[in-house]
């Protein structure tokens, strides 16, 4: 279980307790947190669950697997802390993670 803070583009914050094994994307969707669309349902095929990871957290996350950067090319305004939230698996170590939503997903 990890407490994850999702921050909308407007600055509005949501904190959700997300079970281990779920993804950061699923944590948002299951808690009705707006700003993450996840059109493809988590198959790394759409880039609509794009988030910016708070900088000091970015390096602590498991590295991107092949293909994630290719999808991020197609995300809205990606930068060096961009991740697809469907590719971040939640564990106890992620307690306190903060992710910022982009202005929009498409």
């Amino acid at each position: 279980m990890a407490k994850i803070k999702y921050i909308e583009y407007s600055g509005k914050e949501h904190v959700a307790e997300v079970q281990n094994g779920l993804t950061v994307m699923e944590g948002a969707v299951q808690n009705d947190i707006p700003g993450i669309d996840a059109d493809c349902g988590g198959s790394m095929s759409c880039a609509t669950c794009h988030v910016y990871v708070k900088e000091d957290w970015y390096d602590k996350l498991p590295k991107k697997e092949m293909g994630e950067d290719d999808m991020l090319d197609q995300a809205y305004e990606p930068n060096s802390t961009s991740r697809l939230s469907c590719q971040i698996s939640v564990s106890d170590e992620l307690d306190g993670l903060e992710v910022h939503m982009p202005e929009k997903q498409v």
Partner: protein, 337 residues
């Protein structure tokens, strides 16, 4: 005007299998899809990715699944209307009038929406100023490459479309290629070619840059690009091309008076009809308690929706359930003995 029993919107696996089921029970259908090929997400997003959860098929790719489904409905000779999108669905005397972007018109008692997450559209530049030039000098696809001859062209993207066009247009135009990181996802041979052309100064390559602004009085004159550190550069450009892949949008479906739950359409689980009589929704686009976004669920939904269509297409006949193994009528429809 085309009269038919059913119009299916979406030629993905769910739409294709629903067509099969319609053929089996003796109904006709017309299939419309916005993409230029059959297969939906399977063919557009993951043609080469293996799928492991199709019943009785231990492993197949999106492309193989699509080809098999096409093969399976061949006996029925249904028409596909590709590169076209259903724009309007209006009712008239127990029928639906379905109009497409390309001006086709269908009259049908049934519409089956098998539209996945919506239709695919090119992903556009985030820059507001790019909208002003959209379709004239800011383009997301190329119809006539001769317009670029002897012009300055700035191409954005890191996939095959961006690389292929950069290589092709560098023969006749001054090409700049801009990509947000220094790795490309295009074919290795194309990446190699781009590097060679860049070393020979035939292409101006800017990696770790993205678009900031486009400027011009009347016609486009220049494009400003920025690095992640905030450093910006101005490039002369008559045309700006963006190749960022496709996004899925629900599109005109939201205007047809259907109940919507976020981006999906609630249906009953008896025949997958929506709140509108004769409009059904199946596959990823429908929702109901327990919905799974699996291809196999889409197949089930399509089979039941097909029976739902029968009622309106043949109001004076009674639907009779038959097995393909035993029914001679079905075998005739399939053209087998």
């Amino acid at each position: 005007m085309i009269k038919t029993d059913v119009v299916i919107i979406g030629a993905g696996p769910t739409g294709l299998f629903c067509a099969h089921q319609l053929g089996i029970i003796g109904l006709k259908c017309e299939i419309v899809d916005n993409l230029d090929k059959i297969g939906g997400q399977c063919i557009e997003l993951y043609p080469d990715k293996p799928i492991y959860d199709i019943p009785a098929v231990p492993e197949c790719t999106g492309e193989e699944l699509t080809n098999n489904l096409i093969e399976q409905i061949k006996p029925f000779k249904f028409n596909f209307h590709l590169n076209d999108r259903v724009q309007e669905v209006t009712s008239e005397n127990e029928n639906w009038i379905v109009k497409t972007t390309n001006g086709k018109e269908f009259h049908t008692p049934n519409v089956v929406i098998a539209g996945g997450v919506g239709s695919f559209e090119p992903r556009k530049f985030p820059t507001k100023s790019a909208e002003k030039f959209d379709g004239t000098s800011v383009l997301y696809s190329i119809k006539d490459k001769t317009i670029f001859k002897d012009k300055s062209v700035a191409i954005f993207g890191g996939g095959d479309s961006a690389l292929d066009w950069a290589i092709e247009l560098s023969n006749t135009s001054k090409v700049s290629l801009i990509h947000r990181r220094d790795e490309f996802r295009g074919a290795p041979a194309s990446v190699q070619k781009i590097k060679e052309l860049s070393e020979k100064n035939i292409i101006n390559l800017f990696t770790k840059y993205s678009i900031k602004d486009v400027k011009g009085n009347g016609s486009l004159e220049e494009v400003e690009i920025k690095s992640e550190e905030g450093e910006s550069k101005i490039l002369k450009a008559d045309y700006v091309l963006g190749f960022f892949g496709l996004i899925m949008r629900l599109g005109p479906i939201v205007e047809w008076g259907l109940n919507l739950d976020k981006k999906v359409i609630p249906v009953n689980t008896e025949n997958f009809e929506t709140n509108k009589k004769g409009i059904f929704a199946i596959g990823d686009i429908c929702t109901y308690p327990g919905k799974l976004k699996l291809i196999l669920s889409g197949f089930h939904e399509g089979a039941l929706a097909a029976r739902g269509c029968f009622k309106y297409a043949r109001p004076n006949e009674k639907y009779r359930f038959e097995f393909t193994t035993a029914s001679n009528t079905i075998k005739d429809r399939l053209g087998v003995k």
